[in-house]
Symmetry: C2
Subunit: 494 residues, 2 copies
């Protein structure tokens, strides 16, 4: 591993290769035999489980329940919402048959032509259609509302160019789908959930995000408004990390979901949907990690503290491990996850490198001198700072340090992110910043899709969002010179 | 609901209809627009989440980690293991295309014939093949073993006749896939995991099970041995509730997974796989419920205690609810899940019926006399016994009662199950018991697939298992009269 670790491509040399090396070498994920689909390995999945756990608690605290809807969607469902079909019913996995049979020529199995489905089924790329088709039967009156459902599921979008976690044909996600009696309540819900995502990103992932609205052309297919959280990666590119959509009455109309309101009149139901996915794993990795490997915020680290005994011979090992176990036991009582690595077939330097690669927030090492002196070496992964401290009160020290690391990673990311926000007033400046610095660019835009498209075609930068807290400011569009009332955020993105 | 509840078909009238009514009316699941696929509704999913939580902890306590493998499997993978292909690559969902396009005739979307996959993909019916293809790259030496992975996932088997939870085209499950250096270790693992399932069934589901080996013809396709837990439903039919397979070196050979053992020699890796699914929901419902609705063991109940205020007017409501909230708050501190139902638009009788239907283990009702007297009415769902008790010490009483109910449901099911085990020595008796009593039949069998097949064809009864604790007993096969050394268990089954 120490050797393999050296094979980690340096971040500054090739960011993209560094990312891929890291994902594979840290044991997070790998490509599978199926084009575009990944295998999420145990260490990567353990981080995802921590994300799921925290998000699931936040969803439940805000009144949501989990449910499960079919993985297949009849093809015709997509055609019912005009915008949705354009966005989602194109690059997708299509099930056309339901049986295989032995190859008459004896070569394995072949599709049985007699088992053709009357209507093709699409492996869900997102579930609005099947869910609103179901809600139709759940909703008659305002008393049946709101419905606040979430599902944890796999989805498939047939992406041509895939990258582990960031863009894969199959990915894991959660999708919330809510139904409301009023427009105001649905708008409130969409806002509440983007707030939940922002809080999760900041408190759990140590990832500062900008909350804003998508422009018309970047909006979810079938939504009246899309809220997004946008994060900044270390290479200056933006990463959309979660979205929450106000769907208006579009899906209710497409699936004829009406209810009797308090005034006794029939009306269409208002909808939201919102989701985050295993893409968050990509954001987490790219935002914090370095040339030694992963840097994990303690709240998402499967192992928060690793303890490594340094010894010669079994006797020394036994007494150091005994001491470490006492500390470990106290830490576990406090809810800290601890691993003691007393493998005998691996050198200490290898272990050090391995846990740096895996991003374990705190490393403790105890040798014979430490044992005798009642001291221990402690290293924090985020800064790589090392010191020798007393074993006395170590548990308090560690609990405090875990909080400091969580906060420290956030502050570092925030400082970086803020340094990567540039205000520009001309298109020349815009292109210059984009090419030489990257990051978020705050610029005036005339609000037209034509201008947006021109910028995108010429620079590959897109409008990431119109921040919810953007102050009013009179200015002129960097392209057309037409008046603009607030700056929007542009960036190249993942 | 009180009215709807009366619509629940009585168990003795039509068991199958009673089951279906119950699943739908209690809000557990319903059929979807996609043939054979169900929607798991929030209340049903909440029970499944409790099952998942308990099982996941047990898997982790026994050293397993979660991971995630692709939903698609290349068709050719199935042909690599000769028995497996026969069992699994037949009735399945086949993805043949990866794109839709606008219908040239303007009628929605159609499959794009240019987007045909070179090799068809199968939506996983089980994941041995894709996982062993992956393990090939993870395993070089005995130091890489064991691998103890589990995944929570959806799977698809194209069943022709489906029933909610019991047999659906798509279902949710977990599948453990482990890799070992020795046969002994793999055998030990398969045994350990069927033990985990048996413990889960008994301690969490209050469901007694018989652990045994499947006969050759009932074995998992690709396994050398299949262990099963078999439960008895109230209609006298058996339900296979979980299986654990010793796969020998079959998949290692099919996917060429070799390792260097401690002696430095190449050998094939030994394997197990084991799974339980949303079918357990069916077992839970059918084992314990009655004509009033669900009966849930407290450990799996989303709501363990429901509190219902009985009142006239807002003032009475307010003071009763205030008192109930004090009790609820104390119960929540102790980890008991509580709901206070103070809906004003629903009658008390309706509420009572609703929570009986939903199987909430304990119901508390407090009226004005109770309020004045410091008493409360308590009802346990399993026996429907009601009494009025003092509010003093109610929390201790409830905690104790929840344990009693958990145990009581188990004992009732055990007593019933034991009453449904019949020993027979002739085929006449066998058929008589099967037709007039049902249940598990202990009979001698000559060990041949021919006899097994004859019995199955003539009576629809199958060998559920050869119990692991079956005592040696000399006897003669009820069909062939040939000698047999132990009785096996026959039953009609789901």
């Amino acid at each position: 591993m120490a050797k393999e670790l050296k094979d980690l491509t340096p971040r500054e040399e090739n960011y993209s290769q560094w990312y891929n090396d890291l994902v594979v070498k840290a044991g997070l994920a790998e490509n599978s035999a199926v084009r575009g689909c990944m295998v999420i390995k145990p260490y990567g999945y353990a981080i995802w489980e921590k994300m799921q756990g925290a998000l699931d608690r936040m969803f439940k605290e805000t009144g949501h329940e989990n449910a499960y809807f079919p993985v297949f969607i009849p093809k015709s469902f997509f055609s019912k919402e005009a915008h949705h079909v354009e966005g989602f019913a194109k690059e997708c996995a299509v099930v056309t048959h339901y049986r295989l049979k032995n190859d008459p020529e004896g070569k394995g199995v072949v599709v049985d032509p007699d088992a053709k489905l009357e209507e093709e089924l699409i492996v869900r790329p997102t579930s609005e259609t099947i869910i609103w088709n179901t809600y139709k039967n759940w909703i008659q009156s305002y008393r049946d509302l709101p419905i606040l459902c979430n599902q944890w599921a796999n989805v498939v979008r047939w992406e041509m160019r895939t990258r582990l976690f960031l863009r894969t044909a199959e990915f894991l996600w959660q999708e919330g789908h809510t139904a409301h009696a009023t427009k105001e309540e649905a708008l409130e819900e969409a806002k509440k959930m983007i707030g939940v995502y922002a809080e999760f990103a900041e408190k759990w992932m140590s990832l500062p995000v900008i909350v804003g609205h998508k422009s018309d052309s970047e909006r979810f297919a079938g939504a009246d408004d899309t809220l997004t959280i946008e994060a900044m990666m270390q290479d200056g590119k933006a990463l959309q990390s979660g979205t929450s959509h106000f769907l208006g009455q579009n899906f209710a109309k497409a699936f004829d979901v009406q209810f009797t309101n308090q005034e006794g009149k029939l009306d269409y139901v208002w909808a939201t949907s919102w989701g985050v996915s295993t893409r968050l794993m990509g954001a987490l990795i790219m935002a914090h990690s370095d040339n030694n490997g992963l840097v994990l915020p303690p709240k998402l680290a499967p192992i928060q503290v690793v303890m490594i005994p340094i010894y010669k011979g079994e006797e020394e090992l036994a007494r150091v491990v005994e001491r470490l176990e006492i500390i470990a036991s106290e830490l576990k009582k406090r809810g800290v996850s601890v691993k003691i690595d007393s493998r005998d077939n691996v050198r200490t330097g290898f272990k050090f490198a391995e846990y740096e690669l895996k991003g374990v927030p705190i490393r403790l090492a105890m040798g014979q001198r430490d044992f005798a002196n009642g001291t221990i070496e402690i290293m924090r992964r985020d800064t790589l700072e090392k010191e020798t401290i007393s074993q006395e009160g170590i548990e308090d020290r560690i609990e405090k340090l875990l909080d400091e690391i969580q906060q420290g990673i956030y502050e570092k990311a925030l400082k970086f992110r803020d340094s990567m926000i540039t205000r520009v007033d001309t298109y020349e400046e815009f292109k210059d910043v984009l090419d030489h610095k990257g990051g978020f660019i705050l610029a005036h835009w005339d609000g037209t899709p034509e201008t947006e498209e021109k910028i995108k075609n010429e620079t590959k930068a897109t409008i990431r969002c119109i921040p919810v807290d953007a102050p009013e400011e009179e200015g002129r569009c960097i392209i057309s010179g037409k008046p603009s009332h607030r700056r929007v955020i542009f960036a190249r993105s993942y």
